[in-house]
């Protein structure tokens, strides 16, 4: 049987495909472009911050840039990144199916994504949105820029995200191969499943809130307009009801990835399958109860602040359990320090630190000082880059042989992992200190006493950017020229490694046999 890459050729065979693997590759191209674009915005931001006063660009330009940076990175890159690429590619194989439950919806979701992204880009070209990615009313409803196309773009991207999530849930429920019970599923599947629940439930609320902003901006609906009695704080409630769970849409798949990497390279069963599986579900559900921690100083009632504060502490426990389980998995393993494994360690360290700073900002009185300062910026970049982007890079290296049937250059990989780690810390550790000192975020210019740390941060960002470009470069080269590889170069027990690399169009030559589990490293 031919592999999925060579099964058919020609551009039409890609654009019209319903093969989950090909759709995954198309998503991979799309989100990589989005990441580069968002990264380019970030480089411009950091360049402006090299100087404290005005200069280099207009304030309005800067404000647009951080808005676009946030929106691009969150909605066009990070939310689809791992689920729509690696979830799409691996999940059907991991459950032993030939495809997702609804292949045409899968393809449609890609085009809906493209439409939403195109609308957003069009909005940016037309100078849209200087509102911050959070669209806070009443600024967003009165902004001099054109908010509506970007807001509707976010809505459409949300539709795509729902389609993906719905497809995954149906697949996990209905298409598991015979004898593959819930508790034998690879944990990546659990993570994606939990993510999908959030996508399906929370995304409509986001769609509605940004639509309200668009309606207000374009037509004067005035639901949040104080002049009509509206309360702008209510918009924040709606926004964070989605956007806090959304941060778990971003981190859960990353957790799924590292849960696959660790057992493979430590040749060890996962320390506690149960803990990882159920904590994913726990995060998905309890994550819905914490949204108010973004609003401690927004003028919410003390009761609400108390409830959301304590629930934030509870949700963190699940993440902590995961961290300790991953570490424990290494115990008495047989550890190989390959590129994916280096990314695994970068992830653990950066996520643990970023997560603990999440606890810090969730501590109500401390957040009063830190809210909307660079401390928060550092917190979420630690989790989103240190966590998710790192895991994304780990996943690319880990599954590269499977997806393309080729090897990537290991030396380059190691260099890239180390470079990302160093550049990252150089960029964002100074931002914690800036936040402590009280530098607010979304500041085009800043008092001189923050200058030195800002320069450090910018230099780190340049290093990080350079490493990213380097990584992209050698991976692209390897897609076309890398050495051919076998079905299971890592010696993994994972189900996806039991099919040829790259897999045939129908994934399995013979049905998946899950009697030897995907983490059974105690058997020869």
């Amino acid at each position: 049987m031919t592999d999925y890459l060579r099964a058919e050729s020609g551009i039409r065979s890609w654009l019209g495909t319903t093969d989950h693997k090909r759709i995954a590759i198309m998503y991979l191209c799309a989100v990589t472009i989005a990441m580069m674009l968002g990264g380019a915005f970030a480089m411009l931001l950091r360049t402006k911050l090299l100087i404290s006063g005005p200069g280099i660009m207009e304030p309005l330009t800067y404000n647009r840039l951080f808005t676009w940076h946030g929106l691009t990175m969150v909605f066009m890159f990070m939310i689809p990144a791992i689920p729509a690429v690696f979830g799409n590619f691996m999940l059907p194989i991991m459950v032993g199916a030939k495809d997702l439950a609804f292949p045409r919806i899968n393809l449609a979701s890609f085009y809906v994504y493209c439409a939403g992204a195109a609308l957003m880009l069009w909005g940016m070209v037309h100078g849209g949105a200087d509102t911050g990615w959070t669209f806070y009313a009443p600024y967003a409803t009165t902004s001099p820029t054109d908010v509506a196309p970007i807001a509707i773009g976010v809505f459409i991207l949300g539709v795509s995200s729902i389609m993906t999530g719905l497809n995954f849930i149906a697949t996990v429920h209905m298409l598991r191969v015979e004898k593959l019970g819930w508790m034998q599923l690879p944990l990546f599947v659990w993570a994606i499943y939990a993510t999908s629940i959030i996508q399906v439930i929370a995304t409509p609320v986001l769609g509605l809130s940004v639509t309200l902003v668009a309606l207000d901006h374009a037509l004067g609906m005035g639901l949040f307009d104080p002049a009509l009695g509206g309360d702008p704080v209510l918009f924040q409630h709606l926004f964070w009801f989605y956007s806090h769970p959304a941060v778990y849409i971003m981190i859960l798949p990353a957790m799924g990835v590292v849960t696959e990497i660790a057992p493979t390279f430590a040749r060890k069963n996962i320390l506690s399958y149960r803990a990882i599986a159920f904590s994913s579900l726990g995060i998905a559900f309890v994550g819905f109860l914490t949204w108010g921690h973004h609003m401690f100083v927004a003028g919410i009632s003390q009761l609400d602040a108390a409830l959301f504060g304590v629930m934030s502490m509870f949700v963190a426990i699940f993440s902590a359990v995961k961290v300790f389980t991953w570490i424990g998995t290494l115990y008495r393993g047989s550890i190989a320090l390959t590129t994916p494994m280096l990314y695994f360690f970068a992830f653990i360290y950066l996520f643990a630190f970023g997560g603990m700073t999440g606890i810090a900002v969730a501590t109500t009185s401390l957040d009063v000082h830190w809210h909307d300062t660079y401390f928060v910026v550092a917190h979420f970049h630690f989790i989103m880059i240190g966590g998710t982007l790192t895991a994304f890079l780990g996943a690319i290296h880990y599954w590269f042989p499977k997806m393309f049937g080729r090897e990537y250059p290991e030396k380059c990989g190691v260099l890239s992992a180390i470079g990302v780690f160093v550049g990252f810390n150089l960029t964002f550790v100074p931002q914690f200190l800036l936040g402590n000192a009280g530098m607010p975020r979304r500041y085009y210019s800043y008092p001189d006493q923050f200058h030195v740390l800002n320069v450090c941060s910018t230099l780190g960002a340049y290093l990080l950017g350079a490493v990213m470009v380097f990584t992209l470069g050698y991976l692209i080269v390897a897609v076309f020229t890398g050495k051919r590889t076998s079905a299971n170069p890592w010696g993994s027990r994972g189900f996806e490694w039991r099919v040829p690399s790259p897999p045939p169009t129908e994934n399995f030559d013979e049905p998946l046999d899950p009697t030897i589990g995907c983490y059974d490293y105690d058997r020869a």
């Binding site: 429920h173 409509p204 037509l219 005035g222």
Partner: protein, 206 residues
């Protein structure tokens, strides 16, 4: 669909489509959550303004529409049943009746809108009425958004039912294979479900 199929049997495939539909309905109902939350919050903040505004709701039309939708739910259920018994003509007939109800609902809704607009109870900054406490405008804005979003669903439902009627006439549905029809009726029932809550919230509560 590609030549290969990932399903072991037709029944499995139908069960999957059914689950997918339910997931979609669950997601769809969350679309209303934000507006409901806003309604609840503003009602708590401005009880009198909302009370006074609700007095102006057209209870008669709202109630007629309630009966219409409840009955249309029955008729689509009967359409599905007719297919299960292999009665093609009855299926088409029941679907057409349901479509008629849906259209009637939309028409009455438009009448209601026209009347409110005439009285100056327009949404947002277009609101010109002066007889009510000022924050009543929030009630009307939410009224338009909630019922408008719902009416969009009704309209989408009518289109879906129309498409199903065409397919039914063509003989696409057999007693054992009619998952599209089933999903379509589920969607229609969701439209009914949403209205079951909107009606007391917008029309009856004082």
């Amino acid at each position: 669909m590609t030549a290969h199929s990932q399903y072991e049997s037709l029944a499995r495939r139908q069960a999957t489509a059914r689950l997918g539909m339910w997931l979609f309905l669950g997601s769809e109902s969350l679309l209303f959550a934000g507006l409901l939350a806003l309604f609840a919050a503003y009602r708590v903040m401005y009880p009198t303004a909302f009370h006074d505004a609700a007095e102006h709701a057209n209870v008669a039309l709202g109630t007629i529409n309630t009966y219409i939708l409840l009955t249309s739910s029955l008729t689509v259920a009967l359409a599905l049943r007719a297919t299960e018994h292999g009665r093609r003509r009855a299926t088409v007939a029941w679907l057409l009746v349901s479509i008629a109800f849906g259209v009637a609902f939309d028409v009455l809704k438009l009448v209601e809108y026209a009347q409110h607009l005439h009285d100056g109870f327009a949404p947002g900054h277009y609101y010109t009425a002066t007889s009510l406490p000022p924050s009543s405008v929030l009630y009307f804005t939410l009224y338009y958004l909630l019922t408008g979003l719902h009416a969009l669903h009704v309209t989408a439902g009518v289109i879906v039912l129309g498409w199903l009627a065409l397919r039914a006439r063509r003989g696409d549905f057999t007693p054992t294979s009619h998952i599209a029809l089933e999903c379509g009726t589920l969607y229609w029932h969701l439209v009914d479900l949403v209205w079951i809550f909107l009606w007391p919230i917008l029309y009856l509560l004082r």
